[in-house]
Symmetry: C2
Subunit: 258 residues, 2 copies
DNA sequence: CTCACTTTGTGCGTAGCTTCACAAAGGCAC
DNA sequence: GTGCCTTTGTGAAGCTACGCACAAAGTGAG
C-alpha cells in the first residue's frame, strides 16, 4: 500500500457532493436538514389526509419528533414559507419540500439483486407514492430471472447497462450479496449512475461525484446492542483483558477531559 | 455521552432517540464513534480472514472508508490498544471492539411483522454471525402464523409478551405496517424491552430510557433524489410559487448519455 | 386604528465532531 | 546501546449543528 495517498473513497455518511462551487447563488442546505425534510414531509402528508389546513411549527415538530426551533430553522433554509401568527399552510409546504427534494419529478429506480431483500424492496409501497418508480429488477441467478415480482419481470444482470440507459434509470439499489456489490457498483457508475443505495455490507468504492447511501441492518443492531449493554450493566464489563488474561491495563481516564 | 443518547447528526440518518439520562459514568463513547465501530469490526474481520496479523490505522481506515485520524481517535476512546511503530493487532482489536459493542454476549431478537421485509430479515445471515439470535417471529395475520421461516415457526402476536419474557428477548425489530407499529411498540416496551429497531415509517413514541433506531428506505431514496437533482440541474429551479399551471417541468435530461 | 396575542425567523452561545499536525513511543539494524 | 524509522495517541483549531430566547411580523377583536 501507499500510505499517504489514500482517498477517502466513500464516506458512510453522505457528504457534500464533490464539487462545491461557491456560486453566488449558494443555495446550500445543510445535510442534516436535508435528512430531516422527508420526515417533515411524511408528517405533513399525515396532516393533509386529515384535512388540516395549517400547522404551527410546534405541532409539526411534535409530529415529526424533533425540536420546533430546529424545524423552523430547517424550513427557513428553503425560504420563508410560513405566516407569523398562523403557521404553515400544509399543502403549500408539502409542495415546497417535495420540490426541494426533487419529488415533483419521477425517478426511475433499478433494483439489483432479487433475493429476500430485493423482493421486499420491490413490494414496498413507500416508493411509488413518492415519485420513485421501479423501472427494473435484475439478478445474476438464472433461476430467478423471468420471475414476476410486483408487476415486473426479473431480468439478467447482463442487461444492466441497457436497462439503465433505455429506461433512464438514475438511482440504483444494490441488494446483492456482499461479494457482488462492488462489481455491480462499478458497472452502474460506469453506465452513468450517480446515486446508489447500498444494502450490501461492504464499503463501496466509487468515482467522484457519485453519492452512496448505505443501509446496514447488522450495524443498526450492533449499535442497539451497545446501548442495551450500557443500560444493562452500567457500562461494559470491566474485563479489559483477553479472556485468558493478558496484561494491557487500560487507563483511559487520563486525558479524557473534554 | 450518556447511555441512551443518540444525537442526531449525520451518519445514517435513521436515528431518533428518546432520552438523555445524564447518568453518572462519564465513560461515554461519542455516538458518532459507536456508529463507526461496527464498520471497523467488519473491516477487521475481513483482514482476519486473510490472516493479516496486524494493521496500521492508515490501512484500516482505507478499508473502512474513513479518515485515519478519525479512526485513531475513535479507537482511543476504547483504550490504548495499538503499538506505536507497528499498528494494531487484528485479533486483539476485534475482541476489544466486540466487547465494547456487547457482541461477546448473545442477544435474543424478536421480529414482529413477517411480511416481505420481516422474511428478508429473518433470512439475513448477518445477524447470527454477530451474536444476534432470532428468538421469535410474530405476526398478527393468522394466514402467516404457523409458517416456518428460517427454522422458526411464526407465532401470533398474542404471544408477544410471553415470547419476550420466556426467551429473554432484549431487542425487538418492528417490521409491521405503519399502522400497527405504535401498538406493537407500546406492548414491547411495556413488556420491558428497551431497544427497538423500527422499519415502519412512523415516529415511535416511547417511554424514557428506550432506544429506538429507525431504518427508512423511503427516506434514503429521497435524500438521494435531492442530491441527484442538485447534480442534474445545479440546484432546483427557482419556481417558488405554486404550480399554478406552470410547474417546473424541467424533465431532467435523461438518457444515460449523461 | 390600536392593542393584545400568536407564531415565525434568526442571532448567538454552546456542544460535539472532524481534521491537522506533531511529540511520544516502540521496533529494528547494527 | 545508539540512531533511524514507523505509527500511535492527542492537543488544538475549525466546522457544523443544536436549541434558547427574542424581535419582527402578522391576525383578529373591539
Amino acid at each position: 500500500m501507499r500510505p499517504g495517498t489514500h482517498r477517502p473513497s466513500v464516506p458512510l455518511e453522505h457528504r457534500h457532493v464533490t464539487r462545491r462551487i461557491p456560486q453566488a447563488r449558494d443555495r446550500g442546505i445543510p445535510d442534516a436538514t436535508v435528512a430531516r425534510l422527508p420526515l417533515y414531509l411524511r408528517a405533513l402528508n399525515g396532516l393533509a389526509e386529515r384535512g388540516t389546513p395549517t400547522v404551527s411549527s410546534e405541532d409539526l415538530a411534535v409530529a415529526a419528533g424533533v425540536n420546533s426551533a430546529k424545524l423552523r430553522k430547517d424550513l427557513s433554509h428553503l425560504g420563508s414559507y410560513g405566516t407569523r401568527g398562523v403557521g404553515y399552510d400544509v399543502q403549500y409546504l408539502i409542495y415546497q419540500i417535495s420540490r426541494e427534494l426533487g419529488l415533483t419529478q419521477d425517478w426511475a429506480v433499478a433494483i439489483v439483486g432479487v433475493g429476500n431483500l430485493g423482493r421486499a424492496l420491490a413490494n414496498y409501497g413507500g416508493f411509488a407514492s413518492r415519485g420513485f418508480r421501479i423501472a427494473g429488477l435484475l439478478d445474476a441467478d438464472p433461476a430467478v430471472v423471468g420471475d414476476r415480482i410486483a408487476g415486473l419481470v426479473v431480468e439478467h444482470t447482463d442487461e444492466l447497462e441497457s436497462v439503465i440507459a433505455g429506461r433512464a434509470v438514475s438511482i440504483v439499489v444494490i441488494a446483492t450479496p456482499a461479494t457482488a456489490a462492488q462489481h455491480v457498483c462499478d458497472r452502474v457508475t460506469e453506465a452513468g449512475v450517480t446515486s446508489i443505495l447500498n444494502f450490501a455490507p461492504v464499503v463501496l468504492n466509487v468515482p467522484e461525484g457519485v453519492d452512496v447511501r448505505k443501509v446496514d441492518l447488522s450495524i443498526e443492531l450492533q449499535i442497539l446492542a451497545f446501548h442495551e449493554q450500557r443500560k444493562a450493566n452500567g457500562g461494559p464489563i470491566m474485563a479489559e483483558e483477553w479472556p485468558d488474561g493478558v496484561e494491557q491495563v487500560n487507563e483511559r481516564s487520563i486525558g479524557a477531559s473534554s
